[in-house]
């Protein structure tokens, strides 16, 4: 481990396959209540993810992904992200994301459960729009 102790291994797993598995210098994770930065040597952690942006930094180059909820585990310089979907930021269609947000907002939600579902959908769409608009 001594040779890789100054780097993080970042693994992104979706139910379908392992999307991403490579060493990085830094990872920023979208936790349920805000962003969490993970640098090498981080204490072990298990956290719930929200909808948002994951950033990885490899040698000064930043890659951005949209994460659709899930969980993150940090242990011994291995960051494991379990998520339903991880979409690279450049693959998000801003127009489609905006339309999705409008649709989610317009959804009537009379019951409490539906209200919660609507909130999630809106949050999710908003995060996508945000990430898509940041590109540039």
């Amino acid at each position: 481990m001594s040779t890789v102790s100054d780097r993080l291994q970042c693994v992104v797993v979706t139910p379908e396959r392992t999307l991403f598995d490579q060493p990085v210098d830094f990872v920023a994770l979208p936790l349920y209540d805000g962003e969490l930065g993970v640098a090498p040597g981080r204490a072990p952690l298990i956290g719930r993810l929200g909808f948002g942006e994951m950033r990885t930094n490899v040698g000064g180059v930043t890659h951005r992904y949209f994460l659709d909820g899930g969980f993150a585990q940090v242990r011994e310089n291995v960051v494991t992200v379990l998520t339903n979907r991880a979409i690279p930021a450049e693959q998000i269609d801003p127009a489609a994301a905006a339309a999705e947000l409008e649709r989610a907002k317009a959804q009537p939600a009379p019951t409490e459960a539906e209200q919660a579902a609507k909130m999630r959908a809106v949050e999710r769409a908003r995060a996508q729009v945000h990430i898509a608009s940041k590109r540039g």
Binding site: V13, P15, L45, I46, G47, R48, F71, Q73, L82, A113
Partner: protein, 305 residues
């Protein structure tokens, strides 16, 4: 030559059928490899979930979630039947439907109201034949089930279960045990049990799993939980259910291709045998004809003397 000609014709058609079954076998083999790889790749997720649940369980956190609540007595049940869209897969669909029918009959004698959801054209036709009315039918799941599609279905079931419209969810599908053994089973997915949440669905003992084993047992890792162990566990329950349902679809897809492969291999072998016996028959018929003609010529020549 009339009889010999007819035999040649038959042999030709058997040869053509052999070509088709052989091609189908090759296609099924290729699809099986793809489906199998997908299923193997999908296991990384469940393995990780199981690991996290084990870590969370070590903190002594207890899970309580609506999806774990057992309701007695069971009054309504939803049965999801996974069949294929195409036939020529040997006993694949028949076995699943038989298992489903048996489960349905035993549930019906217990006074449970069973409704159906059917995936695959074969199952839909069967339901029509039996006069059953499925709640909804799906034909979009091919040999590459997508998680996004399955998730929609899973959310529907979660909603149905938590709102009390169904007390139990059963899935009739073909479980993949090994590439030489698949089994049609009916599995209860809801309510889940606490042990199922953390159960790894891994079945292939691949070498990739050994990477983490040295630290997995023994010392406990002092995790920091965000927000806290219990609420993470609660969040994991629905995810675990979705993954289990997804695994059923993956298993069914792999098993379908294997059944088709085996069925088509059998058909090709039978066609080979038939070609051989028809060739023999043809040679005999031809020989008989030559002998007969010779006898006629000799007979004619003898009569002229």
């Amino acid at each position: 030559m009339a009889k010999a000609r007819a035999i040649i014709k038959r042999r030709k058609s058997v040869q053509n059928i052999r070509k088709i079954t052989r091609t189908m076998e090759l296609i099924a083999t290729a699809r099986f490899k793809k489906a199998f790889d997908r299923a193997t790749e999908a296991e990384a997720y469940t393995r990780k979930i199981a690991e996290i649940v084990a870590d969370l369980g070590a903190t002594g956190a207890s899970i309580s979630h609506p999806l774990l609540a057992v309701r007695e007595p069971v009054k309504t049940e939803r049965m999801l039947i996974l069949t294929s869209n195409r036939g020529l897969a040997g006993g694949y669909n028949g076995n699943v439907l038989r298992a489903a029918t048996l489960a349905y009959q035993s549930a019906a004698t217990d006074g449970i109201n069973v409704t159906f959801d059917i995936v695959g054209k074969r199952g839909i036709t069967y339901a029509k034949f039996r006069g059953l009315k499925p709640e909804s039918t799906y034909t979009t799941f091919e040999d590459r089930p997508q998680f996004a599609e399955v998730e929609v279905l899973a959310n529907q079931y979660i909603q149905l279960y938590t709102s009390g419209q169904i007390d139990r969810l059963e899935v009739a599908y073909t479980r993949f045990i090994s590439s030489s053994r698949q089994e049609a089973t009916v599995q209860t997915l809801l309510p889940m049990t606490a042990s199922q949440v953390g159960e790894s669905t891994a079945r292939h003992r691949t070498g990739t799993a050994t990477k983490e084993t040295p630290t997995r047992h023994g010392e406990r890792v002092p995790y920091e939980f965000l927000p806290d162990a219990e609420s993470i566990l609660e969040e994991i329950v629905p995810v675990s259910f979705k993954v289990r349902l997804f695994k059923c679809f993956l298993d069914a897809a792999v098993s379908e291709q294997i059944s088709r492969m085996v069925a088509m291999r059998g058909a090709t072998e039978n066609a080979d045998e038939m070609v051989k016996s028809l060739t023999m028959l043809y040679n005999r018929a031809r020989q008989a004809q030559i002998t007969r003609e010779l006898a006629e010529i000799i007979g004619g020549a003898a009569a002229l003397k």
